[in-house]
């Protein structure tokens, strides 16, 4: 190990500021945020940290999924998934959410070219699709409760309402965040910190979609067969 103090890290910031996957020969480990490259940029730090948070959120959902898997047949003489689920309603909900993820992606493109109007428009459509999803879900829930199949009926229904409801709460929080972001983009423009928040919001919204895909499979597809 040498103790000679020579500044050995060169950076070509202008070409590829974060050197994401573009290390040059002989510069192994010198990209910022990697190996010996020193602190990462703020954008990388924020995005990375938010990914870590999202992973923890996925763990939270995995517990609810595990609980649902355990309790899926514990209907206590009450209705099962086959009797309760309305495939059409769930299909429309799924379509709304997947479409909202697509428009959310479009908003990222619009932000990339710094278009205020397209960013606002695509975010608004994302929000409306999310709202439609929520209303449909609430309608489904209300119908089930009215039919005597509320969460207190059986352990199966408890876990169903919990896992789907938890996803719904996330969508609700996402809508609040989305509204706040639209206001921020409108009043403050595309400042670096606003751009970082939009990045995080995009990640959040797409992860909700991923969760929904798992939820669709585990709760509805498998539940339909029980």
């Amino acid at each position: 190990m040498s103790a000679v103090d020579t500044v050995s890290f060169r950076r070509t910031r202008d070409l590829d500021p974060y050197k994401l996957g573009h290390r040059e020969a002989g510069e192994h480990g010198l990209a910022t945020g990697h190996g010996e490259g020193g602190p990462a940029s703020k954008r990388v730090i924020v995005g990375y940290g938010f990914w870590i948070f999202l992973l923890s959120d996925v763990v939270l959902f995995s517990c609810l999924f595990a609980a649902h898997a355990v309790l899926q047949t514990a209907t206590a003489g009450g209705p099962s998934g086959r009797e309760l689920f309305n495939p059409w309603s769930i299909a429309i909900e799924t379509a709304c959410l997947l479409a909202s993820s697509f428009t959310c992606g479009l908003s990222a493109v619009a932000t990339g070219v710094r278009s205020q109007i397209w960013t606002q428009l695509t975010l608004a459509i994302t929000g409306l699709l999310g709202l439609a999803f929520l209303l449909l879900e609430a309608h489904d829930f209300a119908g089930m409760v009215a039919a005597g199949a509320g969460p207190t009926r059986s352990a199966f229904l408890s876990s169903l309402f919990a896992v789907v409801g938890c996803h719904g709460c996330h969508v609700t929080a996402g809508l609040l965040w989305l509204g706040t972001m639209m206001a921020q983009v409108f009043f403050k423009g595309f400042r670096p910190n606003i751009l970082r928040r939009l990045l995080c919001f995009n990640l959040f919204w797409h992860v909700l979609d991923i969760i929904w895909v798992a939820l669709f499979t585990i709760v509805y597809l498998i539940g339909e067969g029980r």
Binding site: E36, A40, L60, A67, L71, A74, F161, A162, R197
Partner: protein, 687 residues
């Protein structure tokens, strides 16, 4: 939601009956606490310290300040948990063929509060506090990834602690043990607010802990000084990384599990009930899927502390650095594969129990590697028996005993005999006191001069150590014995004469512990009074090896005027050697202005509304829940709306502060830092 207008209804379940006027012990205890708190606040306000406190501490986003506040919270709650321990030991000492002085419903609250407080509000803040203070300094950087979030994490933890203490005077605490097993913890069998206090305190502080995990994983993986590659990080950073990875992976499990119990209790769900298909063993599985990693969340940073202290006071680099890193990662992974050993008696079958028993024994291998590494670090070194080193050596011996009883408990047939006995209680106190608590005190004594600019008094520190060590053995070896004699945990009274002497011996042990506590308090008072003679001028009071010792004591807000350029393991040791060999410091750098995050009251205000919301949820005051949540959202928007996030420290200011540090170092070089120092202070890291 319907909002009732009558004032009585507006307070939900809360009435004057919630104050335990008929129970003198909690009332007097609560009264004393309130008196002390009011006195402290009055003193602060009257002496005009409030603006300073608000500006420099409450709204601070500096990782060092937050670390100090975490440790302070941990110490205060350690005192509270210790008082619970005294009550339990004294109750059992008296309650032989007698009722003792604590009625069962109160005794149950005491042991539940003791466990909850010690794990969540003493051990966790102590470890997280040390990580907060030390990790950015060791990585050679200026702060954590998300400073304001860090402040929020701390204040949310404080919220949890506050709610637990409020339960002392308003209502009651849980009687369900430190983990509220259903169906006992369900609304049907625990209709009071005790379990709700427990659940909301943990949910709120759990969010804080999770955010700490996110913050530190990001910090350690993405923000290190130039040249600080993974395998150059001090082992404390490695253990902090693994502990925080465990937090990120395990705390959501706790949140989800407690949320399910909350749904059961508040909305009549059937996750864990014994009717309508609920499955209470699922709670036991889920809670321990968090609970076992939690053990390692606590003890991994403790291992990190010892890995810093032992090399420093042995004058040698850590033996087997890479094997230490591998062992840490191994423990991090395997800690998720052993949870079932907490309930072998569930009856999952021989194969399942054997699998988890073997996994549990294997995890001891990783710890064993570490124990040998520490011993080999000491071997051939010039050991200085300073207080932190005494704690470390006490740990080495005591923790090994605890580890061996752990391996014993990992054998399912033995566990069937010892399950829920005082043998188990003795085992986990053995590893947590000798592991986490000894580490906390080792780390506290070790890094205290870095935080405050003066050392703690050695004599009183050593006395505290010896009393703690003796107190530990006198308390818990009898509990091992009486556990083998069949005494189960959590007994409010007992009639078997065979147990009596052991229980009395444990009672004597707690008296010795009280002496240790007295020594700790005296140590602090004496050290503050004699701070001038204990002053640390150079910033390197222990002849340290990692980067935190290259800063002044206390370090400036920005830690490093220029980020260090790391060339190898133990970077500061090499900087020091080179300075002595060449008899000069490196050339003065070109000072640049430094951007630092602005202070923010966001964390404090968020925690205030979290407290309000939590209290309202416990007492079913629904309108207040709505108000609290709405205000929390408003704080979020208000914080997101601010335009200036950072303030700049001018280059001249940076230069002035750093030149003062360099001057102290140059004086040290001229007086003490000669060739003889190199030969008398052990080996370098170049072997």
């Amino acid at each position: 939601m319907f909002v009732p207008l009558a004032v009585g209804d507006m307070l939900g379940k809360l009435t004057l009956n919630a104050i335990p006027l008929d129970q003198p012990i909690p009332l007097i205890a609560g009264g004393v606490v309130i008196l002390v708190v009011v006195a402290v606040i009055a003193w602060i306000v009257l002496r005009g310290h409030l603006p300073y406190l608000w500006r420099e501490w409450i709204t601070s986003v500096d990782h060092k300040r937050i670390g100090v506040m975490y440790v302070l919270l941990g110490l205060v709650m350690l005192l509270r948990g210790f008082i619970d321990a005294i009550m339990m030991r004294s109750q059992q000492a008296l309650a032989f063929h007698a009722a003792g002085y604590l009625p069962p419903e109160h005794y149950d609250q005491v042991f539940s509060a003791h466990g909850t407080i010690m794990i969540f509000f003493a051990a966790m803040p102590l470890m997280i506090g040390l990580m907060n203070f030390v990790v950015p300094l060791q990585l050679g950087v200026r702060d954590v990834a998300f400073p304001t979030l860090n402040s929020t994490s701390f204040w949310l933890t404080a919220t949890g602690a506050l709610l637990v203490n409020i339960s002392l005077v308003i209502g009651e605490f849980a009687r369900t043990g430190w983990l509220p097993y259903p169906p006992l913890s369900e609304a049907r069998y625990s209709p009071g607010v005790g379990v709700d206090y427990y659940l909301w305190a943990l949910q709120i502080s759990g969010v804080g802990t999770l955010l700490t995990g996110v913050n530190f994983v990001t910090t350690i993986l993405k923000i290190r000084a130039p040249g600080m590659s993974y395998l150059r990080m001090p082992v404390f950073c490695w253990t902090a990384l693994c502990a925080n990875l465990l937090i990120v992976a395990a705390f959501p499990v706790l949140t989800a599990t407690l949320a399910m119990l909350l749904l059961d209790r508040y909305l009549g769900f059937h996750f864990f009930t014994n009717s309508a298909g609920g499955n209470m063993m699922m709670f036991i599985n889920l809670i321990w899927a968090w609970g076992h990693p939690e053990v390692y969340i606590l003890v991994l940073p403790a291992f990190g502390v010892f890995s810093e202290v032992i090399p420093t006071f042995s004058g040698k680099p850590l033996f087997g650095y890479r094997s230490m890193v591998v062992a840490t990662l191994f423990i991090c992974l395997v800690s998720f594969l052993v949870w079932l050993h907490h309930f072998f008696t569930m009856g999952a079958g021989g194969d399942v129990n054997a699998t988890f028993g073997i996994a549990t024994s294997i995890i001891a291998v990783g710890t064993g590697v570490k124990i040998y590494n520490w011993m080999f670090t000491m071997y051939g070194g010039r050991i200085r028996f300073a207080t932190p080193m005494l704690w470390s050596m006490g740990f080495l011996v005591t923790f090994t005993i605890g580890g061996m009883t752990g391996v014993l408990l990992a054998v399912p047939p033995a566990d069937f005999q010892l399950h829920n006995s005082l043998f188990l209680v003795a085992h986990f106190h053995n590893v947590i006191i000798a592991g986490v608590l000894f580490a906390a005190f080792a780390g506290l004594t070790y890094w205290f001069p870095k935080a405050f600019g003066f050392r703690l008094h050695e004599g009183w520190g050593k006395a505290a150590f010896w009393f703690s060590l003796a107190g530990f053995y006198i308390t818990f070896i009898p509990l091992y014995a009486v556990g083998l004699l069949g005494m189960t945990r959590r007994m409010q009274h007992y009639d078997l004469a065979l147990w009596r002497p052991w229980v009395l011996a444990a009672g004597v042990g707690i008296l010795v512990f009280m002496c240790a506590l007295a020594c700790q308090v005296i140590q602090l008072v004496v050290s503050i009074r004699r701070r001038e003679e204990l002053r640390d001028f150079t910033g390197d009071p222990w002849n340290g090896r990692s980067l935190e010792w290259s800063t002044a004591s206390p370090p400036p807000a920005f830690n490093f005027a220029v980020l260090p350029n790391v060339q190898g393991e133990e970077p500061y040791w090499h900087i020091k050697r080179r300075a002595i060999e060449t008899q000069q410091l490196t050339a003065e750098p070109d000072y640049q202005p430094i951007e630092m995050p602005r202070n923010s009251p966001t964390g404090f205000i968020t925690a205030f509304f979290a407290t309000v919301t939590g209290f309202a949820l416990i007492w079913d005051i629904w309108w207040l829940v709505g108000v609290g949540l709405a205000c929390a959202y408003a704080v979020f928007v208000w914080f997101a709306w601010r335009d200036v996030e950072e303030h700049q420290i001018p280059a001249e200011e940076v230069a002035r502060i750093d030149r003062a540090r360099r001057k102290a170092r140059e004086e040290w070089l001229a007086t003490e830092g000669h060739e003889e120092w190199l030969t008398s202070h052990g080996q370098g890291g170049t072997s």
